[in-house]
Each structure stands twice: as structure tokens, then as C-alpha cells.
Chain length 518, copies 2
């Protein structure tokens, strides 16, 4: 970690999520000098770090995971205090964080991300010889990552964005989320220990903290930053995107922003198990106080007995839900405002609220319903309310359901609950769903995002600012790479993995357009 | 081709490049209604075209090539008249155009672009089962392509952008370049014949023409357009980028814009063959009247006898160059203005001009020199002058040469002329070159871009608006794709290539992170 000379006298406090009150934990606010120092260190580290061997980089990622585990229970208790999330969830999230680092370590080792391509010279080609051309993907440069509040471990300081950028060979400057400065500092120290243990330059990783937006804005505008990873609100993501686009040299922004994740209840599935679906839906809706990017905020179905039974079961389930501590008072306030706004729209019925809570950060689940026609007439109903709020849209028929789907903005996920008899309808819907979302699920719930190779946690705008990628899963490494072609370079000057005598180390190569394994 | 109901009464004429005068060939200007009709047709064609089989799409691309060849010599004579480029060049360019279409046909057949990934379910995993996850790349949607004036065949109506977008499964709406409406119309008709022959929807391809910028602006802003491909000026590319970013739903823009393509003459190479290099350089500089994106506009070398000999040979060669017809009077005027601006800067010496021409569109080669210090002090010297103009920068030592390189904006290419003794210096320069350019060449010239798998015709801003891609070569198909993940979908609903019983047809698959061939 770059040694930041914090000249600022300003301090800020960690907040206890449960009470919404300041704790005794005090953190120094980084200033603009610290941003510049972190970026300069990252730039200085780039030529060294981006050309480390795959084994070194993989070991580094694994070492970060070990250092995180070595923090022990203090990490879990700090995250519990700062996020209000329960122990089991945070222990699971720590496992996911370490698992992500291991996944990317394995991805780095396979070398597929290098995208090696070789077109051998054709010296006898007429009318002109063909030169020797070789291609590899190279790291973009230093990357700015913004920690997310809702995953204080798995999508924050050492989360998926950081792991994938480090895997790609990019030094990382994290803007830690001010909702969990103590958790973030523990993780940042763990990464710094891994940097030191591996003998890497300090600038491979830096951690900036502070409560306002200036720090993050300055970071995105620093000329040494080559890309941005962000998970958070639409307003926040779009602000960073605008700054990145207005730079003298614009840079890519990977912002995962907003999604209401439509869940479609198809007729045969409703006929077979409406009540069970209603109960299970509320389980997904209220998990983690509904604070997931993939929270099911919209239910679509065609009117009928099945939908009535689903609604009855969901309503009962919501009525039994305890209020849950939300991540921050700001998120809780936004949730209160958002549910009140929905409740105040015309042609909306409030079906049920969960139990009230007594703390000032406790979110009460909320379930609304409306008609397809009313939904189509009121764009405000399609806005995300971050938290355990969902809207059931009763469609008059499949055509109206299709119109509702068509009216939606881009989403992270769409879910189909379906039986064998629903397959023709599912097939009719599939092309539309593929245009709208990054992941299509059947007979499950969108919360719970697997960190694997075939995962897409992404989707058309405004679910993300760049639909061509994912922020979860091994494909996320591609966000931080770009291709470079080498024409007729002498063997001794070529990057090692493109030389004729490169070790056959498993990295696939496209030779004259034919894929060859390792 | 969508049948555009041209309501406009406006007409424009094709211009003879040689005389700069209007020909008798008259073309109807498309209007905003035509833009909307073309985009509607493209959107209607999308669900059908994007799900055609790989064999159908490959055959379609090949058929376009056949239809272009079937036009015969009329195509060459029209392009000669409209572009002023000589017959041999245009015959070669036609070969390249047809070759590109065949390359993408083969790429479509291999199926690597589908990026298939399968993570099988783990039903016994604790604490929760892992779902079945499958991923494929899908086409983005209808794409707007802007034809380039400098490659009336290979980078215009049926050029590389069109071929790669069609290969990806995207319907294409071309905004034809007004410098070659007759050539463009012939090619558009050939594509339309291929569409009809293959029984594809008309909207798979549309062609809009007109002299102003309104048409292109409306096209980029049409909500049905999902991405933009452009090759042309920096001003034009940035204007389209701004429009695309300001849309309610922003879309990717792949604009290839501006580059001065530094050529580095390393000391041992200069010692061995300075005069031969000087002569060969002018051959590359003046080919096609210098109207290449990869034209060598900047020569960098350390002061010395070698450089003096290079300059002497280059100066002699330039003095013997005939003036050449440029593509349009506007391009010729910009070239005149650009060379005059360079000549008027302080600390610039004009070394030589080519012979004067008598037509009003004839460009005269121009060779300038300056010192490294002067170059570093004057940003205007690093601006592209489109045409056969180049600037030699005499650096005092390697450190100054590195400073000059560091000062440059992003470029398409960098070239090293080097001998064995230069390899240590080449290795020192390589990391810097990789940050600055998309392609690094040794002992060749940047003009002449191979259309292969390992080519990168791209590079950091402002060479392009998106350094993560290439606009030439098979990797260009990735620009028009995005990933979609399918979780637990029944076999019958899954896209065919992701089913368990999918034909083992050569498409590689990443199964649980392990690459498997076909």
C-alpha cells in the first residue's frame, strides 16, 4: 500500500449501523494530495506489476485471501457493527471474498485472458509477403475501485472489482466506502501485508477514505487512472461516468447501478405452486433487508386464481417479517422515501408492510400491487427502491405482460417461474429477455450471485454503464485489458508469452485462426 | 435492404475527385423519415437475423463478396472516378473487401466468438447447491456504420465494420460517405441482392446517403441503434461520441479517429541503412497520397550522421514525388491548411515539398523537421495532418526521445527500425510503446494493415474512442457482442448451442473453467 502522507487534519467516525450513532472509531480523511500520491504510486508500480509472472500474480491473490482470513473474528465483528448485517451472512461473505481471490488466481494461471494470437509470416505470399503478427491482451493501467456499502467484504476493498483488476495486472486505488471504514482499513492492511510479502511495489494497492464525494471525483479525474469500477446508486454511477467522459482522455467506467429484477410467474407454475412461490419470494425479497442489486423488485403475472393465491401467501409472509437494520441511515431514509413515493402514486395498492422496528435504521418490508395498464402509464413505478420493497403487476394477458417487459429499462436479471407447460411461453419471452438483462433464471430467485465462469452480473443501461461486461465471475477480468499487436518483432524483444520458445504452460493460442490448447 | 420511401426532393451529385467538379451522377438525399424507417426495419430484422445459424450467416457474408465481384469493372471505374485512387489500389482494395467478408465467414463458423461457458450444477454443494449456469455472447442490436472516404471499398459500405457487425448477428444501417455515392450504391445493391438470395429480412441492411451531418446525427440518436462504427476525422468521431453518450440510453461508439504513427529510427539501424530507410519511408508516406490512418507522420531519432543521411535520402525522394489527386476537395483543403500551419510554427524547418500539381485537388508531399525540445514545447506539432506530410524530430539523446514519446497522445501504431545492436534500447522502449499504441512494428512501415486474427487496428484515445478493441481483423467481431448468462433454464428453452445435446461443431467451450475444443 502506498504510504500516504495525510496532510489533512479532518477526521470522520465509523457509524454503528444498528443505532445510527457515531462510534469511537475515528479515521483520518484523505485529501487531494493523497489521491495524487496514490495515483503516482500506482503508475510507478504499473510497469513492474503488469509484467509479473502469472504464478506471482496468482500467489499474490491467494496471499491476500490468507491475510484476510488471518485477521480472524475481529473482521466479522467490525463488519457486523458497521453494516448491521448478521454474523452468518458476513462469514459467508468472507468465504465468498476469499473464494473470488482464489478463482481469479486460477484464472490468471490458465492464461486464457491473455488472448494469445499468432499469425505466422507468409514470406512467399503474392503480391506481398505477410508479416508475422502476434497479439496479447495487456493491462489497461491503474484502476480506481469504489467499494460498495451492501457487500462490505465481497464487493468492497478486496471485492470482485479489486480482485479482477489485480488479476489483469492493474494496480488498484480503492476509494473505501465511508459506511465501513474500520472493515475497509482491516482489509486494506491485509492487502498491504500481501504486497509486502510478495515483494511487490507499494503502489500496487492504495486505500483512500473519506465521507464526501470530492475524493472519488478527484480519483476518477486523475490522468494516471485508466478505468473505474463502481457498484452503487444510479446517481453515483452516472456522476462518475460523466466525470470520466469529460476527462481530456476519457476512460471506461464499469458502474453497476440499478435494477428491479423482474420475476415472471408463468401460468402453469402458478397453477402448481402459487402459495409456495409467494412464501419463497418474500424470503428472497427480505434477505439482507432487501439490500441486494438483484433484489426481486417487480413481479409480473397474468391475472387469475394462481396470482391471487401467490399474493395471499406473499402478503402473509410479509406481515410476519421483522424490521431489519439497514446499512446506513442514508439508505434507510432513501428506502422510506422510496416506499412512500410508490405508495403515493395513483392506482397503487399497498398490500402489506412488515412489522415496524424501533431503531431509526430499521427497514420495514413493503409489498404493493398495480395493474399492467397503470404500470405502463407511470414510469415512476419502474424506479428501483433499494431495500425490501416490491411491486406486483397484474397483467390482463400475455400481450400486456410483454408490453410491460418491453417498457422496462435494462436490468441485471429476469426470472421465470415455469413448469413444463409454460415452455412455449418461456420461449416466446426469451428473445425479449435477452435484450433487457444480463442473466435469465428459471425457477430460482435472483438474489445469490454465483462467482463462477458462466456468471453475468451486468446488463443493459442503466443496470450498468457498460453491458459488454460483468462485474462478478471470471469474465470480469476482461474489463481491465486491451489488445496489442506485435508485427515482425525480434524474438528477444517480444513479450515472453508470444515467443516461439514460450513455455507451453496451458495458455490457449489462436494460431492462424485455429485454437490450440496450451 | 429496407425499402426506404424517400420523401425528400433534395438531390446531391457525385464529385469527380480529379477535377473536383460535380459529375452527372445524381443521388437522392435521404431524410429523417428514412433514418427512422431503416432503424425500424433493422429492429424488426434483429430477432430473426441474430438467431440465424452460423452456416447461414457465414454463407451470407460470402454471398456479399460474390455479389461485389459480380459487379465487375464498373465498380472499379466508379471508385476511381469518385476517389481519385488508381486502378491497382482499388482492385487490391476490392480483394481485401471480399477477403474480409470471407475471413468473418470463417470466424462465424468456428464459433469462438460465442464465448460459450458452462458451469454444471453442483446439487450436493454445502451449504447451498450450485445452479447450472451457461453463458453465450449475443448480438448487441442494430448497428450504425459510417463509411470512410479513404477506403471506398474496404472501410466503407461493405467494409470491415459492416462485415464484423453482420458476423456478430447485428443488422447494419450504413451512412454512406458522400464522397463516393455511386460506389456506395453499387455495393449496397450487392448486399441487398445477397440479403434476398439468402431469404433474410430486408432490414438486415440499409444504406442512407446525403451530404450533411444531420442524417448521421439522427442515426446515432435513434433509440433502436445499439452501437456505432466510424472511421474518419477526430472532429467527426468526437461529435458522434458526444451524441451517443447524451442519449437516454448511451451506446458504445467505435470511432477510429486520428494518429500520427511515430516511427523510431534506432541508432544501429541508422548506421547500417540510413539512406535506404529514407527512401522507403517516403514510399510509405506518399502511398495513396498519404491518405492512410497509419501514415507515418512522425519520425523520431537521436541526432547524428545516420539521421543526417536518412534526412538527405528522404528529402531527395520527396522532391521527386508527383502531386497526387486527393479524395475530396475538403480533404485537400484541410491538407493545405494543415501543412501551412506546421510550416508557420516557430522552430520548424521545411525540408522539402513534392512537385506541384495542376489540379485543384492535388496534394504535394511535405517534409518538416524540428528538435525534440521544440516538439515538446509545441503541442500543435503533434496534430495529425491527413495526407503525405511528416515531421522529423531530432532528439538530443535517448532520454529526450523517451520524453517525446511520453508526450504523445494515443496512436494506432509505433514502428521501430532496429538492428540486433538496438535490441536493448527496443526493450527499454517497449513498455512505453505498449501504453501508447495498438500495434508495434519492427523494420516495416505502418501503412498496409493485414486483415488477420492477430491484427490490432486500434489504440488509446484519441487514436480511437475505445482502446479495448480493433476495427480491423477478426477480433473486431467482439465489439458487437455482450454476454448473457442462463441459470437453470430447461434444455428446451436454452439457446441451441448451450444445450447438452448441442452439436460438437467446433465451437470451443469453457467447462467449469477448463477450455474444451469443439
Amino acid at each position: 500500500m502506498a504510504d500516504l502522507d495525510n496532510g489533512s487534519e479532518t477526521l470522520f467516525r465509523s457509524i454503528d449501523a444498528d443505532s445510527g450513532l457515531s462510534s469511537e472509531k475515528v479515521f483520518a480523511v484523505h485529501g487531494l494530495d493523497d489521491v495524487a500520491a496514490a495515483c503516482a504510486a500506482a503508475e510507478a508500480a504499473f510497469p513492474i506489476y503488469s509484467e509479473t509472472t502469472r504464478e506471482t500474480r496468482a500467489s499474490f491473490l491467494e496471499r491476500i485471501g490468507e491475510e484476510i482470513l488471518a485477521i480472524g473474528d475481529a473482521l466479522i465483528t467490525a463488519a457486523m457493527r458497521e453494516s448491521g448485517l448478521p454474523r452468518a451472512r458476513l462469514e459467508g461473505e468472507r468465504g465468498r471474498t476469499v473464494g473470488q481471490l482464489k478463482l481469479f488466481a486460477n484464472v490468471v494461471r490458465t492464461g486464457g485472458w491473455l488472448g494469445l494470437r499468432i499469425d505466422p509470416a507468409l514470406p512467399d505470399r503474392q503480391p506481398l509477403p505477410r508479416p508475422d503478427l502476434r497479439l496479447r491482451m495487456v493491462a489497461l493501467g491503474p484502476v480506481a475501485i469504489f467499494g460498495a456499502s451492501n457487500f462490505p467484504l465481497a464487493f468492497s476493498t478486496a471485492g470482485g472489482d479489486t480482485a479482477s483488476a489485480l488479476a489483469a495486472g492493474c494496480p488498484v486505488v480503492v476509494k473505501g466506502h465511508p459506511a465501513h471504514p474500520e472493515t475497509g482499513a482491516m482489509i486494506a492492511d491485509a492487502i498491504a501485508r500481501a504486497v509486502k510479502a510478495m515483494g511487490l511495489p507499494d503502489g500496487v494497492f492504495s486505500h483512500l477514505v473519506g465521507p464526501g464525494n470530492d475524493l472519488g471525483g478527484a480519483l476518477v479525474q486523475d490522468p494516471r487512472i485508466a478505468a473505474v469500477g463502481f457498484t452503487g446508486s444510479r446517481g453515483g454511477g452516472l456522476a462518475l461516468l460523466a466525470l470520466a467522459q469529460a476527462r481530456p482522455v476519457p476512460i471506461p467506467v464499469y458502474a453497476e447501478m440499478s435494477s428491479i429484477n423482474p420475476v415472471l410467474l408463468l401460468p402453469e407454475a402458478l397453477k402448481a405452486r402459487a402459495a409456495a412461490l409467494g412464501t419463497a419470494f418474500v424470503g428472497s425479497l427480505t434477505m439482507g433487508a432487501g439490500q441486494f442489486c438483484t433484489n426481486p423488485g417487480l413481479i409480473l403475472a397474468v391475472e387469475g386464481e394462481g396470482l391471487d393465491a401467490f399474493i395471499a401467501a406473499a402478503t402473509t409472509a410479509v406481515s410476519g417479517c421483522d424490521a431489519q437494520v439497514m446499512l446506513t441511515t442514508a439508505i434507510h431514509d432513501a428506502y422510506q422515501k422510496g416506499t412512500a413515493a410508490i405508495a403515493g402514486r395513483p392506482n397503487i395498492a399497498m398490500l402489506e408492510r412488515g412489522k415496524a422496528g424501533d431503531g431509526k435504521t430499521r427497514g420495514q418490508a413493503a409489498l404493493f400491487q398495480t395493474s399492467g395498464q397503470a404500470f405502463l402509464a407511470d414510469k415512476a413505478l419502474a424506479e428501483e427502491v433499494f431495500g425490501a420493497s416490491s411491486l406486483i403487476v397484474r397483467c390482463s394477458d400475455e400481450a400486456e405482460l410483454q408490453r410491460v417487459l418491453t417498457s422496462l429499462e435494462g436490468q441485471l436479471t429476469a426470472t421465470l417461474h415455469m413448469d413444463a407447460g409454460d415452455e412455449p411461453m418461456a420461449k416466446r419471452l426469451l428473445p425479449l429477455l435477452e435484450r433487457k438483462v444480463g442473466r435469465i433464471l428459471a425457477n430460482g430467485w435472483p438474489t445469490g450471485v454465483e462467482v463462477t465462469h458462466a456468471m453475468v452480473h451486468g446488463g443493459p443501461y442503466p443496470a450498468t454503464s457498460d453491458a459488454r461486461t460483468t462485474s462478478v465471475g471470471s469474465l470480469a477480468i476482461d474489463r481491465f485489458l486491451r489488445p496489442v499487436s506485435y508485427q515482425n518483432l525480434p524474438q528477444s524483444v517480444l513479450p515472453a508469452e508470444l515467443r516461439d520458445d514460450a513455455a507451453r504452460d496451458g495458455a490457449p493460442r489462436l494460431i492462424d485462426g485455429m485454437l490450440s490448447l496450451g
